[in-house]
């Protein structure tokens, strides 16, 4: 058994770890072992940020990517939870769609990029489509197994107390019971969604990924690193906010 750390020592150790990582990186970049064009030093990133921020590029890219991300995330999450719940609760539908799901599931979202561009052009809709696709599958499977995993005894309880009809059963037992698993899926989608944002934008749809692609073409690696850090920070903020909501919604868990 591991000894649990006190909160302040755990925070201190995390900060120490990040500091050590940055120092090692800076040392490696300055040592000249790696050519400076290949590995920018972390100390170059604040300067890059100021330049990008003053020109308004940073804000514009963040806004563009966030709007792709949020619309794709919302669409994929809602559809994934809906279809996952339907498949898990309705046997006929489950059997009907099972093989379609098996065929479509293994295709990674980025493999849909050609079609996304043919159908939607190099546009916000194309990015939204790709992100929604990624997020959809995560939520579909998380919801499916969460709903299937709801305690059958609680379903019996519903029947015993007049809540056995489809609507009360779904909204008073199945979905609340599956909620922890569904929210775990939403959270996983939150992370995977960002990966698809970058992948979609590398193909030219304006945003953080496109800016990184442009900068790397000019060997402006410190700009690339700036946007990598930006994505990490945006993901961190999204995940942190979601965790706050999740803790509140699942306050009934021990």
């Amino acid at each position: 058994m591991r000894q649990p750390l006190k909160l302040h020592s755990s925070i201190a150790l995390s900060a120490l770890g990040v500091g050590a990582f940055l120092l090692a990186w800076e040392a490696l970049a300055r040592s000249g072992i790696v050519p400076s064009g290949l590995l920018p030093s972390p100390s170059a990133v604040p300067g890059a940020f100021l330049t990008e921020f003053r020109s308004g590029t940073w804000q514009a890219m963040v806004f563009a990517s966030l709007s792709h991300y949020l619309s794709g995330l919302a669409l994929g999450t809602v559809l994934g939870i809906t279809f996952g719940t339907a498949a898990a609760t309705w046997g006929i539908w489950d059997a009907f769609q099972a093989w379609v799901v098996r065929m479509l599931r293994p295709i990674p979202s980025i493999a849909w990029i050609p079609f996304a561009i043919i159908w939607f052009g190099v546009s916000k809709s194309a990015a939204t489509f790709l992100i929604a696709l990624t997020v959809f599958w995560i939520n579909y499977y998380a919801t499916y197994s969460a709903v299937r995993g709801v305690d059958k005894d609680l379903i019996e309880l519903g029947h015993a107390f007049g809540q056995g009809g489809l609507i009360p059963r779904l909204f008073k037992i199945v979905l609340p019971g599956a909620l922890p698993g569904i929210l775990a899926g939403v959270r996983a989608g939150l992370g995977q969604g960002w990966m698809t944002v970058v992948a979609a934008e590398l193909f030219g749809i304006s945003g953080l990924g496109a800016r990184m692609s442009d900068a790397s073409g000019l060997l402006a690696t410190h700009i690339v690193v700036l946007y990598m850090v930006t994505i990490a920070a945006l993901y961190g903020v999204c995940d942190f906010l979601f965790m706050q909501v999740q803790q509140r919604v699942l306050a009934w868990q021990k």
Binding site: A160, G162, P176, W252
Partner: protein
């Protein structure tokens, strides 16, 4: 099998079982056969017998959760609005963990044609009855096993049932909690006058609580004893009654 919701035709009987047989799956032989049982309104009937004789399933047949293989089940429900004819207390309390205590008690009242004010009043009254007045805002995980079971009883009583079905409700509790809840249940039975059908494998519990004890035994099982009982652990014949039931079960117990 016919399930009839009729008005009272058989004196004061609230449950009438006629020739009820129970099995699991069409292929397997029935586990319980020839159950003829009339339960009088207001009585406290214990059903005892070894594991596997279908005690809990018989309770579920009365609750309408399981369909009998054969026979007729009649519930003579009082036709009053805003109540459910039967309600069930489970061995595992079975609270919805995402609902606070008061909302768990409210569960069976949802969908009944009663006003919000009456609903809240009935929730409060049920919690008072099980002495958990101040626990409405707690989450189930904050309760002890005994308190959780009290909430389960309050939830069952809140729907004002004709029949309270209890499926080994104290089976998972420690001895001290079990004894105190048994006494609470006797008090609640006295105060509410509800008909109770109580499944247990604990003969002493049956003799302590019930005014009538039905013993199931044999293979396939059937009713082997149907005895009147003076409830209470202090009553004179307590030991004799327990021993008599024990030997009755042993005679009919085939392994």
């Amino acid at each position: 099998m016919a399930k009839v919701n009729g008005t009272n035709v058989n004196g004061s009987a609230v449950i009438d079982l006629r020739g009820v047989a129970i099995g699991y799956g069409a292929e397997s032989p029935p586990v319980l056969v020839d159950v003829d049982l009339s339960v009088e309104r207001g009585s406290f009937v214990a059903i005892v017998g070894p594991s596997g004789v279908g005690k809990s399933t018989l309770l579920r047949v009365v609750a309408g959760l399981h369909t009998a293989r054969a026979g007729a089940v009649t519930i003579h429900e009082t036709k009053k609005p805003g109540h459910r004819p039967v309600s069930l207390v489970f061995q595992d309390a079975r609270l919805l963990p995402w609902r606070r205590v008061a909302k768990n008690v409210r569960f069976g009242l949802e969908g009944l044609p009663i006003s919000t004010a009456e609903r809240e009043e009935r929730v409060a009254a049920a919690l008072r009855l099980v002495r958990l007045d101040d626990y409405g805002r707690r989450w189930p995980y904050e309760l002890s096993g005994g308190q959780r079971q009290r909430v389960g009883i309050a939830r069952a009583l809140a729907v004002d049932p004709d029949i309270l079905l209890m499926d080994e409700p104290f089976g998972a509790l420690d001895a001290i909690t079990r004894h105190s809840l048994q006494d609470e249940l006797l008090r609640i039975h006295r105060e509410t006058g509800k008909t109770v059908l109580f499944v247990t494998h604990d003969l002493e519990e049956a003799v302590h609580l019930a005014d009538r004890i039905i013993v199931l035994g044999g293979s396939p099982a059937r009713i082997v004893q149907d005895v009147r009982n003076e409830p209470g652990r202090e009553s004179g014949g307590f030991r004799e009654q327990v021993e008599q039931l024990r030997s009755g079960i042993a005679d009919n117990y085939s392994i």
